[in-house]
Every structure is written in structure tokens, then in C-alpha cells.
Amino acid sequence: MSVVYKKSKLLTDTPFHYCPGCAHGIAHKLVAETLEELGQEGNVIGIAPVGCAVFAYNYFNCDMQQAAHGRAPAVATGVKSVYPDKTVFAYQGDGDLASIGMAEIVHAAARGTNITVVFINNAIYGMTGGQMAPTTLEGQKSTTCVYGRKPEINGSPIKVAELLATLDGPSYIARCALDTVKNIRAAKAAVKKAFQNQLDGKGFSLVELLSSCPTNWHMSPLEAMKFVGGEMTKIYPLGVFKNID
């Protein structure tokens, strides 16, 4: 019997705590498989965020640090200072990265720090129970904008990939979606490119992954994936926003 598929060695055997239909699990898998394919087992330090992925340190089979809310890029910068030859990544949600941690991500990107950031945009604060995120869509309901996000009150969604792509520091910025097999394959390629850039010493790379939060969107897993592909991609177009070679 031949093995056609097996779990990446870069994932531990700890079961994920994520809700059914949550894209965090898919994103973890992509990161782990990529690190394994790039031969990085035993050469990685990951940074977990504050958010639903806070327990990422239990899932990735590598040395891990857990950072304060939004500070993962600064923590990753500290780690990379000590070990420039190790692969260092930060895994962050949209509240973590685009709200409380906006300064940290912008400046890590501006410095061109040679780290890789995996950015989960699920348009909501998952862990704290569905409050508005800086990425919540106009009209989208949350527990702190119960009638839907109104630009005149709540401002408009922040487009992180486009924003960071205006900087000279990053070597690679892309946005992908985790809704269909095709898109997940494309996301895997983008994650791989991002890590490859780090291995090649090209500097800061980030992949924004449009993700689902069926629990706080009050949708079934299927509806949630349709929302990612149907509604989110309208505001957050997929593509590569920066790629220096």
C-alpha cells in the first residue's frame, strides 16, 4: 500500500481546537507543509498571536514564542536578530495585525525584516466573540456594530496587502483565499513563495489569507466559505501586490 497523503511533520499530534469550518486549520496545514517541503524541520521559530490562533504554539512542531496582542512582528524581529539563519514566522489575525498591532506590522515591513507573516483576515474578532475588526466589511454585522458596519461611524475596511505594498521594505505581498480547492492551492504556492523569499534573504514577506469564521458570522461552514469567495473577495481582491526579484 502506498501512502498518498499524510499529515505534515511540522504539525504536532495535538488536535486543533478550532470550530468546524474555520479556516485557521487550513492555514496551519499550508504553513506546516510548506516548511516541511522547504526542508525547514528543525530550523524554525514561530510566533503565535493573541486571537483564536493563540494556541498555535501547541500545533506547530517547532520552537514557538507566544506574543502579546499585536506584537508578533516585534517579537519575530527580536528572534531574527539573534538567529538570522533560522526561518522565523509570525501568524496573526486581523484584530491582532491590523488594529492593535498596526504599528508593529508596518514597521517590520518598512524595515524589510527578513521574516514571513501569515495574516488571517476573517473580518471579525473570533476569540473574543465576534466584535468588529478593522477588516469587517461595510454592512457586515458584528456584536459591536449590530446594525452592520457603517463607514460614517466605524470607518472603512483596511486593506492590509495593498497598504503594506506601498512600502519599499517588503519583498513579497500577496492575498489569497481559503475557500475553494483551487484557491487553497494558490494560497499554498503564495505561502511557499513567501518562505522561499526569507530563505533567499530577500526580506519581509506577507501572505494575507481570506478566511472563514462560521461561528461568529452565524453561518454554516458552507455558507461561510461562500461568503469568503463571494463577498470578501469583492473588497479584498486576490493577487500579488508586491514581488521584487
Binding site: 520552537d63 514564542q65 507566544q66 502579546a68 536578530s81 539573534v82 508593529e104
Partner: protein, 353 residues
Amino acid sequence: MSEKKLMKGNEAIAEAAVRGGCRYYFGYPITPQNEIPEYMSWRLPEVGGVFIQAESEISAINMVYGAAGAGGRSMTSSSSPGVSLKQEGISYICGAELPCVIINMVRGGPGLGGIQPAQSDYFQAVKGGGHGDYKMLVYGPATVQEAVDIVYGAFDKAEQYRLPVMILGDGMLGQIMEAVTLPEMRKPGDIKVPEWATVGTHTGADRKIINSLYIEPDVLEALNRTLYARYAAMSEAETMVEEYRVSDAEVIITAYGTVARIAKSTVDILRAAGVKAGLIRPITLYPFPSATYRAAAKKRSVKEFITVELSMGQMVEDVRLAVNGKKPVKFYGRSGGNVMTPEDIARFVTEGK
């Protein structure tokens, strides 16, 4: 080779850190400590280290978290408003049991305050500052030489107890130029990477995790008990205090840092005038040398304690706790960046104002 040099406090502290093994510095400019990041920016690359000017003090302390978690000897420095911003990170560093060195060249507050010397961050340094039950090893050096000696050994202490060592200085200590004997550069081979560090090579059961999240109440309580046992051991081993002309003293003046130097002159002035004065100078502010005060308070000869600070009265609370009502404890302070003279203190002692 140790060498004697005339150096500004801030620069001497920076050099002492480098010689003590510091290779990673992260900071953000603020007066009156700018000479530290400025010095580190060229000095660390000379010895194979890394200097990063962070986008904020929040970021700087989190870079320290990352580098310290990776096992690098890491340091940051700032002054009061910046140290306020570091409090979140300090709490996480204490929760994750990471070693580092933090310099606070205190300036007057609250708010933006002023840029002149102050001691008004004492509470923040020794009582917590950030959230949760934690302590740091806090020193209040009085001279540039003492600051150099403390900073040189600070990384060893931080690693021994797995907590931040804070140097609570002030604008005077940072700006004054004094002759200092610089210690020898530590040999890289003498400094071991701690076994708990995330060096990136571990997988499976060997994985290292730097973390301060403990969802299970019993586990978090156990961590807090471990930390407090460590603080108790630290109190036994690390408490430092200087006593000056205390043996027959009737009036005990007490002060720390540069203010203690002024108070020492006051002791001499008062002695010359026939007043039996003495000085107790805490060198560690946490652990606080309570036993020294307790012993002094028990003596029949001692009539009163006078705490002198560049604040509205902070360390005086720890002095009162130690003296425990056995003798009166008075307070004399200046704030806003004003500094008292030896004569001001002498007048307070003799005239009560």
C-alpha cells in the same frame, strides 16, 4: 583588561552592558537617556551584536521579549513616559520568565512631565507597573561606577532568576561625567545559551515554547508560587544596602540613587554641627533592605527616620512598612525636576521644613 576612563553615565552604562555580554539592544529615543541607544547603535555592530531603533517603546520591549526568548542577552532603555509604554511587555516577560535588562533614566511626571531628574517611578518599578503578580530585580545606583558594576553583572542575575533586572537611574546619573573603571569584556564562551531558549532546532518533545498563557487556574497559580519562591530566594541573596555613620546615629536619613549622594553630604554637615546623623542607602530597591531599617528602628539611640526623594513620597512607604511604627518616619521631597541641596535636607532635619 579593565581600564579607567572619564565617561558620561549613559555611555558608561551602555559600555558596561556590552562588556557584560549584551548583544541585542532595542530602544526608542527619549531624553535623558538618548546616549544609550546612540552609543549602542555603533558599539554593538563592532562586537557582532544588533541594534534596532524600534518604532515605539512597545515594540522595543517586545523585540527584547523575542531576542531574550531566543537566548540572546538583550536590553532596552528609556525614560519614564517610555517605560510606561513598556509595562505590557515587562508583564509578559515576567510571565514568560525571560531574562533581560531594562534601564529607566527617570524624569519628572505625570504625563509628559519634564526632562529633569526625578524618582517618581519608584512605585512603578518595585510594585509592579504592569498587570499581574510579578517583581523585577531593581537597582538604584548612586554613582556611575556603581551603575557600571551593577549593569555588568545584571545579565547573569537576570538569567539566574529568569526575570528582568531594572536599573532605576535618573537624569543626573545619565548625564554626569565621572571617572570609571570599566570591567573586562566577557568572553563569548563564558556566556551559555539557556536550555529553555527557542533556538529553532527543537522538534517533538524537545520543543521550546516561550509563553505566558496558562488557561488552567491551578497551573497559573503554580507559576505564581514558583515566581514568588524565586523572589524570596532573591531577597535572601541579592539585597544590597549601604550604611553611613549609622552606628551612633540619632537621625537616620534615607535616600537612594543620586539623592543619596546629596544626603551623604547632609550627614557630614549635620555631624559637623553636632547632630548625630546617619544614612541608610538602599542599593536594591526590590528586594528592599527592610531588615536594615528594622534593626535601626529597634535601637534606642535612633530617634527618627527622614526619607528624602525626588518625588512626592514613594519609597517612604516601604520605609514606614519596615520601621512599622517603632519610630517616626518623616518625608522630605522635591519634584518636577527640582533637586534639593545638602543644606535643604539639613534644614529639614533641624527645623522640620
